[in-house]
């Protein structure tokens, strides 16, 4: 069981405590990890939460990826540790090369905060435990730069390798292939724009996010591997 979860906090992150609360509510033990530390401590999983790391200046995630903690996150990911990037966390993971592609401004050029319906396209990843392909979830989005884009070959590869985790049923931001979330090849690193931690209580409108976080807590760390894991051309692992 992955119970101890490190939630990374950059200056400008703002969903760290919401994420911690949601995880603890599900029986996990979440702790906030400062971006300037180089050691993750004893954790079984990592969440890079939403927010505006470094103000999202230059590009979302562009500065955050140079934070000292990101080396540890990369190592952890390479060793098969479960890593979930939510919203800004997804952007950081792409900038850091742990996931392919990039997130551009929404096609409508507006920030969007609202409930969206997404559908599981693959469950072979750390948030898919207990879920089935085709499952529909109501989870809020909250972003300006959530319009996923990648090279054609990358998209093809993502599809072939079953790495598209979620698709929107009604694309809100122009994402290629309606993509709301993807994983790396092994499925231990997932990035998604919707915020599962905001969908963990019916009092707030939905608890469809709980199962995703529960899955993260329940995943065994993927076996460490030395073989060269094939990745897309713009992934750095």
């Amino acid at each position: 069981m992955s119970r101890r979860v490190g939630v990374i906090r950059f200056p400008g992150t703002n969903c760290e405590f919401d994420t911690v609360d949601a995880i603890n509510e599900l029986g996990g033990e979440a702790k906030v990890v400062w971006h300037g530390d180089s050691d993750l401590g004893d954790v079984d999983a990592i969440v890079i939460p939403g927010g505006f790391a470094h103000g999202d200046y230059l590009r979302c995630g562009a500065i955050a990826r140079f934070s000292p903690i990101m080396d540890a996150v990369s190592t952890f990911a390479r060793n098969g540790g479960p890593v979930l990037g939510i919203c800004n966390g997804f952007q950081v993971l792409t900038e850091a090369g742990l996931l392919p592609g990039a997130l551009q401004k929404n096609a409508g050029l507006k920030f969007l905060c609202r409930m969206e319906q997404i559908q599981f396209a693959s469950t072979a990843n750390v948030v898919g435990l207990g879920a089935s392909v085709g499952d529909l979830l109501n989870i809020p989005i909250n972003h300006f730069e959530g319009n996923y884009v990648c090279a054609k070959e990358t998209l093809k590869q993502l599809e072939e390798e079953n790495r598209i985790v979620f698709r929107y049923t009604d694309n809100p931001n122009g994402s290629i292939g309606d993509i709301a979330g993807i994983s790396n090849k092994r499925g231990n690193v997932v990035g998604m724009m919707p915020h599962p931690e905001r969908a963990t209580s019916m009092l707030l409108g939905s608890n469809d996010g709980s199962s995703l976080l529960q899955s993260l807590l329940s995943t065994e760390r993927a076996p460490s591997t030395n073989e060269n894991v094939a990745s897309t051309h713009d992934e750095r692992i």
Binding site: L58, R59, A62, F66, T94, E95, P100, G101, A102, Q104, K105, N106, A107, G108, L109, N147, V149, C150, A151, G174, D234
Partner: protein, 83 residues
């Protein structure tokens, strides 16, 4: 020597540029019927210490590769302005 450098970061060919399209849609209403092909990007001006224009350029190109520009979606044009 201190060089002033200008870096233009533009969305790569083939990548949607909604900001450009929005401006393009608005222009005719303002009487600018003939304007078109609008692309919007970022410009970064900075100063850097270097021995020569070439080194200045090399330093800034390195900056672009590593940091200022995301090659998945952007191209950078570097211009060394003054010594």
């Amino acid at each position: 020597m201190r060089f002033e450098v200008k870096i233009e970061v533009l969305p790569r060919e083939g990548i949607a540029n909604p900001e450009g399209s929005t401006i393009e849609r608005t222009l005719p209403a303002l009487g600018f019927e003939t304007a078109g092909d609008v692309r919007v990007g970022k410009v970064i001006r900075l100063q850097v210490e270097a021995d020569s224009t070439d080194t200045a350029r090399a330093i800034v190109e390195d900056m672009c590769d590593r940091f200022l520009c995301n090659p998945v979606i952007e191209d950078a044009i570097v211009e060394v302005l003054t010594a």
